[in-house]
Symmetry: C2
Subunit: 121 residues, 2 copies
């Protein structure tokens, strides 16, 4: 639980590195995270959970095996559990993620793009 007000833009300003989710708030056993994205991530899925993306700025393409989902600012998309996806940021993208606590960014594939959830200062 976050016990006070957090601002999305201030939080994103405090994030220096790409692909490093930071916790904005928690509700029950879910986390709301802010993240900066640039370039392409890795193909992965989350067998146990859906994953929600809300784009704050920039254009995010969520590549699915059968189509590309293009997200512009204020667009929301939910990747269903078990569905392989590979986010690709066109320029720099600022986004909010909503998912259960403990959800790992690289899902079922792991590897060197795996990043622990970080706390904002």
């Amino acid at each position: 639980m976050t016990d006070d007000v957090r601002n999305v833009h201030d939080a994103l300003s405090a994030v220096a590195e790409h692909w490093q989710p930071h916790r904005l708030a928690s509700i029950n056993d879910y986390d709301v995270k802010v993240v900066k994205l640039q370039g392409e991530f890795v193909w992965h899925s989350h067998p146990e959970t859906d994953e929600l993306f809300l784009v704050v700025s920039g254009q995010l393409v969520i590549q699915l095996r059968d189509r590309d989902v293009v997200l512009n600012p204020n667009d929301v998309f939910v990747v269903p559990r078990g569905v392989e996806h590979c986010p690709k940021a066109v320029g720099e993208v600022h986004a909010i993620l909503f998912e259960p606590q403990g959800t790992v960014n690289t899902g079922d594939v792991g590897g060197d793009r795996t990043a622990p959830l970080r706390e904002l200062d």
Copy 2:
């Protein structure tokens, strides 16, 4: 689960009435809702869940019994489970709510401000 892209502003444009939450997306057994607020709501609490507010536009004051929490655009606040609160919108406020499916807007008090979750067209 919402199976395609939803835009926050388009969704809010489709909402005509105040205090009527509409489902923007679902993730697992949680809903992301958009809502327009104006004036003061009723004092209530949610004994079984935290409730997250993200302000899109306007200024929302979440009155707690011991203080007022003032939220401006892009501010996030989580009302902990069981904590009495009474939202008050200064002018019209557009907001996003995250909470478990089945969470009732008036929580433990019910009454004529209770509104079912509505679907966007």
